[in-house]
Structures are given as C-alpha cells and as structure tokens.
C-alpha cells in the first residue's frame, strides 16, 4: 500500500494505534464515573500550555502536559471541596483553561503552530513527540491493567470501594494524572477540540454491544482502534484533516450500531410474533402476523 511508503504516515499509524489503545481505557472509567467532560477540560487547558511553550521556545507538547497536569490537580482539589457538585469542578477548570489559552494565544507569533493543536497534526510527529507518546502510552496501559479491578470498583461505587479498602484517593489522583498526560499527547496528534470525543465515543459504541464490564473495555479499544485506523486511511486518500475524520468515523460507527441494535430488536420481535401465529391459529383464533 502506498500509504505506508512515507515515513510520516508509518509514524502516524504507530502513534494513532498507541493512542487508540489507551484513550478508550481511560475514557471508559471516566464515562462511568460520570466525568465524561474531564477530557474537554484537560484538553482545553493543555492549549494554555501549548501557548506557553510556543511563547518561551520549548516543545509545546511538554507545555501541554504541564498545563494538563495542573488542570487535573485543580479538578481534584475543587472536587474535594465541593463533592456534591463535583461536575462544577470540570466546568470551572474548562473555563479557566479556555480563558488562559485565549489570552496567551494572542501573544504567540506562529498562529499556524498554535492552531495545529486545535485539530491535531498527526502526520507531523517529531522524534521527541514519538518518544513521549510511546512512554506515556506504556505507562497508561500498564497502570490500567494493574489497577483494572480497583478502577472497576471505583467506577461503579466509590463509597463501597473505599470501605472495602481500595485506596480511592490515590487511585483517583493517579487516574487523573494519567488522563492529563494522555489528553495532552493526544491533543498534539488528533487535536485538543476532538480528543475528548475519542474518550467518550468508543465507550458509547461498546455499551451498545457489551454485556459485561470486561467486554465494554475490550469493545471500546476495538472501536477506538478501528476509528483511528479507518480515519487515518480515509483522511490520507480523501485529503481530509485526520483528527476530525477519526472522530467522524467513530460517530458513524455509533449511529450504525444504534440503528443495527434497533433493527435487530425489531426483527426479533417480528420473528417472535411469526412463531406465535400457528400456536394461536391452532386454538381457532386468527391473528394477523
């Protein structure tokens, strides 16, 4: 395939594959903790770090990681203060992140460099960025596998998890930090404006077909990888922006699944009614099929 003749595309697929592995893992837990919007808050805050990086001449990805980590810790701190309205923490940090990014971006000389973080630039990954993606992806994947049952317990009942002895505060903090790192590297590649949909859409797809938590995680990763690879391929041949295309492929999957599930239910109901006809007819009643 000529798509793999270019080094930048091979690199894009490798980075895409790694991101598609880890983003749904983090996304599933965030969705079930009713914190789907965390991705948005962190990715928008990462833009402030990008602006700082571009302003002071260091790698903007490192700036994005730093800003995301600060934002993540801010969310956790606010959540602790107002636990009953914890979703407000996300809104506050999101607003602060956008405000700061908006002001700082006004001082950035290279507008193109800054806007590449809005919709991503997966085909322009440097060696340093590739190294950061590989390191963070390995870290996130290992943590997710090792803390699988802790994250499961916290995701569906944080109170019971704490009583049972799960170190809820430590696991939550670790999860938030890893989410921040994941979101910031993903913002560089698929774009800050679309990264949160990569956390949520594969989970939403998986929930329509999975019958257990394990299956939900597995299917989320499968849908994430499919959206990523199909989106990258489509964007290459149709000359589209990769980030947006990847997300739109995921949304198309979700719509098709929803239609498919409803169609399957309708066919099952029809089949059941079809079986009932001869039984009823035997009793002497005539029932339209």
């Amino acid at each position: 395939m000529d798509i793999f003749e270019f080094d930048f595309m091979r690199r894009a697929f490798l980075v895409g594959l790694l991101l598609a592995l880890i983003i749904p893992c983090v996304g599933v837990v965030m969705v079930f903790k009713r914190m789907s919007m965390v991705g948005d808050a962190l990715s928008h805050s990462s833009l402030a770090g990008v602006a700082v990086g571009l302003l002071f001449g260091f790698n903007p990805v490192l700036g994005a990681i730093g800003a995301s980590l600060v934002a993540a810790m801010g969310i956790e701190a606010i959540r602790k203060r107002i636990p009953r309205y914890s979703e407000m923490a996300i809104a506050i940090v999101l607003s602060a992140g956008i405000g700061l990014a908006g002001v700082l971006s006004g001082f950035v000389q290279s507008a193109a460099g800054f806007s590449s973080f809005l919709f991503g630039s997966i085909v322009a990954i440097t060696d340093l960025e590739l190294g950061i993606v590989v390191t963070i992806a390995t870290l996130v994947l290992l943590t997710f596998l090792l803390l699988y049952k802790e994250l499961f317990y916290i995701a569906y009942d944080e109170q019971a998890a704490r009583i049972a002895g799960v170190p809820v505060r430590a696991v939550n903090t670790l999860l938030t930090l890893l989410t921040a790192a994941t979101v910031s590297i993903a913002a560089r590649t698929v774009g800050a404006l679309v990264v949160s949909s990569l956390m949520v859409v594969p989970a939403a797809c998986a929930m329509t077909v999975a019958k257990s938590y394990r299956q939900t995680v597995t299917w989320s990763v499968v849908f994430g990888i499919f959206s990523m690879l199909a989106g990258l391929t489509l964007s290459y041949y149709a000359r589209l922006r990769p980030g947006g295309t990847i997300v739109l492929v995921g949304i198309a999957c979700l719509l098709l699944l929803q239609v498919g599930v409803r169609l399957a239910g309708w066919i099952r109901r029809r089949a059941r009614r079809g079986i009932a006809v001869p039984e009823t007819a035997e009793g002497g009643d005539s029932v339209a099929g």
Binding site: F152, D157, A160, A161, V166
Partner: protein, 277 residues
C-alpha cells in the same frame, strides 16, 4: 460479650442545624437490630458517621474494636447503601463482576481475581438465590435481583457486621422474605451482627431483636410491642408524646424527656449488655 459496634455520646449537625443530639448504643455479635424514624431524622447520616464518611462533632465510634477514622477502610464491615440500586443499574457489568469486587481485600491490590475467587462469588450469589445469574448483565435485572446482588457482594467477604440502609426498598414481598431469612440465618449461624435502617414497622416487630427509634436527634430503644402506637403518637404531636421539646438539648433534657414517653431510658451507655436478647 464484646461489642462489634460502640457508639458513645455522638452529636452531629450540618452547619448550624443540629441533627443528632445524643446517640449512644452498642451492638453485640449475632444481634439483628433495626433503626426506624421519619424521613430526614438522620438515619442515613448515622450510618455515614458509622462508616467514617462524616466526623462526629462530639463523641466516639468504635467499629470492631477500632476507632472509626474519617475516609478509612473498614475491613470486616459490609455496607449496602440506600441508593445501591442506582449505582449498579445501568452499569455494564455482570452479577459475578459486581460480587467479585467484594473480594477486593482477599484478592489483594493489583492482583487479578483467580478461579477460586470466581467460585466464591458464585457461591455468594447462590446464597442469595441467584445461582444461575452469574453471567447475567445487571442492566437486565429487576430491583429485587439487583439488591440481592449487592447483598452477595457484601456477604462474599464474610463480614462480622452488616450495615444496611433500607435494603428492602423496591423489592417484592417474596424477595423480602428471602432476604430476611438469609439475614436471620447469618445472625444465628455465623454470629454476624446486622444493623438495618427500615421503614417497615410490621417486619421490624416480627424479625428484629431490638429496634431503635431516631427522632428529634435522640436515639431510644423502643419496645417492639408498642412500636407502631408510639410512632403514630409522636407524629401527631409537635413534641414527644405531647411533651414539648426543650429548646436546647443537653444530657439533662434528654433524660427528662425519655421517661415521659413511657419508653425505656435512652441507650446512652455503652456498658449496656445484650442480656435482653
């Protein structure tokens, strides 16, 4: 007999609003105890204090011979929350996955569950009458089935003390009968102590060893025979049994009120033994 739970002179309020004025009681192994009271009187708050989610303004709580620490783990204690159903409903998990999480301590941090843990989870499901439901998604279960899954999640860890917040809410009479039978066998055969918040006075009278009533910030033990009459009387009057409530609560006011109600003295001493059971 050594108490599994000792609550001594606990007071608690939200901001300026005082909710629990004087709460003292103790629970021995094998006791099946109910807490009744109107909505908003602080029953769930009392459980949250016992679980270390809230810190008392005054007084002490000892669970399994250890002081309760705010936000700490409670090994040996099982808790089924009032809103337990909403936590599990809609979450994509099987009954076995939910029950397995109750084995967190025995599986250990970071380690994955093994075949013997799965066998234990299935055994716990069988105990609550859901032997065939291990792989059933919780999303397709009825309210009664979900409640039993949550009870199995607690039972699988063999707790010494069970704290249940209105566990029979939303489940049919047959399922409630089964739950009561199970809880009764736990208290008798395994010496597990059960503290249950309930609104079902009729069942409380039939099934429980002792009943505490929490109203107006005080906890008093109620004679089971006069349970219904006393509660109805209380709700008709702005005070307790026609006696106006004191403007400020203190030890003296508490002791003045309780005998006037015709009830036993407030359970304000942890030295009380369970010889009456």
């Amino acid at each position: 007999m050594k108490h599994l739970l000792e609550v001594k002179n606990v007071r608690f309020g939200y901001g300026d609003r005082s909710l629990l004025q004087q709460v003292s009681f103790a629970i021995a192994p094998g006791e099946f105890i109910g807490v009744i009271g109107s909505n908003g009187t602080g029953k769930s708050t009392l459980l949250r204090l016992l679980l270390g989610e809230l810190k008392p303004d005054d007084g002490t709580i000892r669970l399994l011979d250890r002081p309760v620490q705010e936000g700490g783990a409670l090994p040996g204690v099982g808790y089924v929350p009032q809103q337990g159903l909403s936590a599990v409903r809609g979450f994509p998990a099987t009954a076995e996955e939910i029950v397995l999480s109750g084995l967190y301590t025995s599986i250990g941090t970071i380690r994955p569950a093994r075949a013997r843990h799965r066998a234990e989870a299935r055994h716990a499901l069988a105990r609550v009458g859901l032997a065939d439901a291990a792989r059933m998604p919780t999303g397709s279960m009825s309210g009664g089935q979900l409640q039993r899954v949550l009870l199995a999640r607690v039972l699988v860890a063999h707790p010494r003390l069970l704290l249940l917040d209105e566990p029979m809410t939303g489940i049919d009479t047959d399922s409630a009968d089964e739950m009561y039978r199970l809880l009764r066998s736990l208290t008798r055969e395994e010496e597990t102590a059960v503290l249950m918040v309930t609104h079902d006075l009729a069942r409380a009278r039939e099934e429980l060893d002792r009943v505490f009533c929490l109203e107006y910030g005080i906890l008093v033990e109620v004679e089971k025979e006069q349970l219904e009459h006393e509660l109805q009387h209380r709700h008709r009057h702005p005070g307790i049994n026609g006696i106006p409530l004191p403007e400020t609560w203190d030890e003296e006011a508490l002791h003045a009120i309780a005998p006037a109600c015709g009830w036993p003295a407030p359970v304000n001493s942890v030295n009380r033994t369970s010889e009456g059971n």
